[in-house]
Amino acid sequence: MTGEVTPGGAGVPDEVVVDARGMLCPAPVIALAKAARSLPEGARVTVLATDPAAAVDVPAWARMRGHRVLETTEDGEHLVLTVLLGPAKAR
């Protein structure tokens, strides 16, 4: 619920998970963008969100920033979106 950023898979430093569950728009996208800022091109960021707007707003943010949404799934009560980061200059 805190937008906490944690390393994703063990030993994979360029994969992070942003927990935006319980946040309302635009907070999930802001939490995701903050996590993305310090990551290199090619890193994968996964965001967990209960806000239905995230299903649209994460892909829209990715389009505006030159990132790519790799996968969108639902895990029970929340959405799981994985984003592949584009080059930093586009951000």
Partner: protein, 382 residues
Amino acid sequence: MTVDRVVLDAGGQAPLLPVARDAFLAALDEGWADPRRLHSEGRRARALLDGAREALAAAVGARTEEVDLAPSHTAALHTAVSTVALGRRRVGADVVVSAVERAAVLHAADFTAARGDGRRVTVPVARTGQVDDEAFVAALARPGVALAALQHANGEVGTLQPVAAVHEAARAAGVPLLVDAGASLGHVPVGDAWDLLAANPGDWGGPSGLGVLVVRAGVRRSPDRPSDEDRWFPGGVSVPAALAAAVALESALAGQAAADEERRALVARLRDRIPAEIEDVDVAGPAEGRLPHVLTFSCLFVDGEAVVGALDAAGFAVGSGSACTSSTLEPSHVLAAMGVLTHGNVRIALPRGTRAADVERFADVLPGIVRSIRARLGVVDL
């Protein structure tokens, strides 16, 4: 000190046109009676109501008897869908719609499809908001379709839809096409590519509390309500509202070309200035092939409620499709279907007679408002 109000949110309900107000007041005196009564007062009210229907019919190229008046645009759309679905229940119960139809159409399609054991077939749209016409045509040509519904233009983002091509295919398939012209009539020509046409007097500067449904002779439909003298909309409508709506439409159509040119130029100005002066703005809808007076854009990392509130405090009334501005916390289904950013959304529909100076002033204050919201949220460098 009071702030001068600038209304930039005329979609669905524009400020009442002065001629409509005059007609409404006159009809309160002349047409107060029940038009079903046979006395002189009743007959006078009936004459005003018939005159209003005749004028509305002429405005859309229909016969007077094809025009029904409804208590609201929502009621007109619900009844259009449910009565045709009922009339064609032997053909099937599926309803084909675009993903960006008004909520009233989507809900009516769900309601009637479920009742008849059919389904709502929802055709996707492109990023511009324009429906995939090939997919729409393919969907309505399948067996079991009771009716199809495609809006003339989208009232939230302004995109015109390919109704002519879709109507041709619908006719070939023998499927009636409902065209929701609720955002178009009074602003752009709506043409004749429809079997049922719904329009909204509030949107063209008429009064609230009235809807218009025009149904071509030959469209099969069955009443879906207890029987009444007013078969499709039991209880009838307000005579003053009907007269004011007809007068407002005549006025709107008489000035349509000039209002189109003026408002199209103002929207083009905003389409230039806003993305140039505010970072990270997602402008929705196409630059061409749109309504003249509608513009929607979303500001990244901004909360829609905050931007609407700050603009209101600065004297500007605007709409929004952001989730936080809706009672359901769901974002606009139109923006979602288009893949446009839904937060930080500002929706503008310019009333007729909007002054260029007010539009410039709006464009002047907006960047500062967005900047201060972003500063407060700590997102300036994201």
